[in-house]
């Protein structure tokens, strides 16, 4: 789902930087206000955690592997605003310090993975698990459903970005300048693999991690409460 440079046109990249700017400002303000001084390193460590989740290869039936994005998991653990910053930092580190992912597409990538996925996942998790105790199995189900749905919503958002490129940027002779496929190809292609494979990976990993944390140290599932609004 990481969009590299060159897939999206300049106006699309600009629009998503503009959309993300107030979100980053709001996230910084909320996190700064609610984060205790001793929790400041938690944000950096969480960003590294978010980065590293993407390196865990998860076995998929059939002998192949995939990886989770982990945005919903970080949102459950840290709260949505801190997760938004942590995932943004992970994406910026990937793009700037390791040359992995697009610099001009950072706004769009953060919109999909640090905003849409984080907030959609967090809201769904809260909605399904509302009122349940921290060790309840409803929370495990909520984490799985939130992981699956949020990843697919983010994938749909990326597909819409790709699919609108041939409409927005075309020469007079009909030549596409950026992503060459329209919505009729981009949406089934992106949603197909996410609905069938990656969504399940995300759901299983998010649910299992919540389940293990319930057994290991349930207080960690409420750490986000103290750190963020």
């Amino acid at each position: 789902m990481h969009i590299p440079d060159g897939y999206l046109g300049p106006a699309t990249c600009g629009v998503f930087y503009a959309v993300m700017l107030p979100i980053w400002v709001a996230a910084s303000r909320i996190v700064k206000r609610t984060l205790k001084a001793k929790q400041v390193p938690l944000l950096g460590i969480s960003a590294a955690f978010s980065f590293v989740i993407m390196m865990f290869n998860v076995p998929i039936p059939g002998g192949t592997t995939g990886h989770a994005v982990g945005s919903v998991l970080v949102a459950i653990l840290l709260g949505p605003w801190a997760a938004c910053l942590a995932v943004t930092v992970a994406l910026v580190v990937q793009a700037l310090l390791f040359g992995d992912g697009g610099i001009t597409a950072i706004g769009a990538n953060c919109f999909n993975m640090a905003f849409i996925e984080v907030f959609a996942g967090y809201c769904l998790y809260k909605l399904i698990s509302a009122g349940s105790p921290v060790t309840s199995s409803r929370r495990v189900v909520a984490a799985g459903v939130a992981g699956y749905a949020a990843l697919n919503i983010a994938a749909l958002s990326a597909a819409l970005m790709f699919g609108t490129q041939p409409i927005l940027y075309k020469t007079a002779s009909g030549q596409s300048l950026y992503c060459p496929y329209g919505l009729n190809v981009a949406i089934p292609a992106m949603l197909g693999e996410h609905l069938l494979i990656f969504g399940w990976v995300e759901a299983i990993i998010t649910a299992l991690v919540v389940k293990y944390l319930q057994k290991q140290d349930p207080s960690l599932l409420e750490a986000g409460k103290g750190a963020t609004a």
């Binding site: 590299p4 440079d5 060159g6 300049p10 910084s28 996190v31 001084a37 001793k38 400041v40 938690l42 944000l43 950096g44 460590i45 960003a47 590294a48 955690f49 980065f51 590293v52 989740i53 390196m55 865990f56 290869n57 076995p59 998929i60 002998g63 192949t64 592997t65 998991l73 653990l77 910053l85 942590a86 930092v89 580190v93 700037l96 310090l97 390791f98 040359g99 697009g102 610099i103 001009t104 020469t171 007079a172 002779s173 009909g174 030549q175 596409s176 300048l177 992503c179 060459p180 190809v185 299983i204 990993i205 299992l208 991690v209 389940k211 293990y212 944390l213 290991q216 960690l220 750490a223």
Partner: protein
């Protein structure tokens, strides 16, 4: 339980291999950033602006020769910055550009890019036509991604991470963000070392994983444990920061110097961007 079965154990190797290759790449990158070369000698602030101007030039460009010239400039800059060209090509061609090339192939055909037919291929009873528009679309798409990836890699290879973070601070990026970036960079290495140790321990002690279901449990358990360790770690990190004089506001040293060459390089990059905007406006 974990049973013997080589076939289902690939995820352990893949995780270790990706962690190892990540560390190897980073060590190489650090070595290149320390070399005496053209881009290494540039002021990091100017270098970021230069690369950004060139990235925008690539993004706005509508002609294949124009983007090809910027790609040739990337290769020249890599050579002038003492970067091994074979390593640079391997790093920039592998994965994203090749993946994009694979994605671009269907766009060659009239099904996706209707227009003037160049060649027709007959597959059984199906006639597929490669169009002029499709070929141009696929070529510009691939070239744009290759050049953009090359520019990003040039920046990452020739700049020490702390210089890049310091430069971001100079661009008025909020301190909380820059500090988090710096911490993230450092802890990524620690966590990668943890992944390697954990997987090596699993492999050496219990052998192989028998099913994907058990494999997924191992991964989830590892992620949960990593989070637990991370959470414990932040208290220790905070104590270490306090012992080094942290008082709520991190201090960042600033000793960058802009030279005449930096200004000249910036001028060239801006001219290329202006050229790109001009041809995007007037060429169709």
């Amino acid at each position: 339980m974990i049973d013997v079965g080589i076939k289902h154990n690939r995820f352990i190797e893949r995780s270790i291999m990706s962690a190892l290759s990540f560390l190897k790449e980073s060590i190489f990158a650090d070595e290149y950033a320390s070399r005496k070369g053209f881009l290494q000698a540039r002021d990091p602030r100017i270098k970021i602006l230069m690369i950004l101007a060139l990235l925008l030039a690539v993004l706005f460009a509508k002609s294949i020769p124009f983007i090809s010239c910027i790609y040739a400039l990337c290769l020249f800059l890599a050579f002038a910055s003492s970067i091994n060209i074979a390593y640079f090509l391997k790093r920039t061609w592998f994965f994203m550009p090749l993946f994009s090339l694979f994605i671009a192939v269907p766009a060659l055909f009239s099904v996706f890019s209707p227009g003037e037919t160049l060649i027709s291929i007959k597959v059984f009873t199906l006639v597929l036509s490669i169009t002029k528009q499709g070929l141009a679309s696929a070529a510009i798409f691939f070239l744009r991604i290759l050049t953009s990836v090359s520019l990003c890699v040039l920046l990452a290879l020739t700049t020490k991470h702390y210089c890049l973070l310091r430069a971001l601070r100079n661009f008025r990026v909020p301190q909380l963000f820059v500090m988090t970036l710096g911490m993230c960079y450092r802890y990524v290495y620690l966590f990668i070392a943890l992944i390697q140790d954990t997987y090596t321990a699993i492999k050496s002690r219990v052998g192989y994983v028998s099913s994907s279901q058990k494999g997924r449990r191992i991964v989830a358990w590892n992620i949960a444990s990593l989070w637990r360790r991370s959470y414990d770690l932040h208290n220790q990190v905070y104590q270490a920061m306090l012992s080094r004089g942290y008082s709520g506001e991190p201090r960042i040293m600033d000793d960058f110097y802009i030279t005449f060459r930096d200004i000249a390089c910036m001028g060239v990059s801006i001219s290329i961007l202006a050229g790109s905007l001009w041809q995007a406006r007037f060429l169709n």
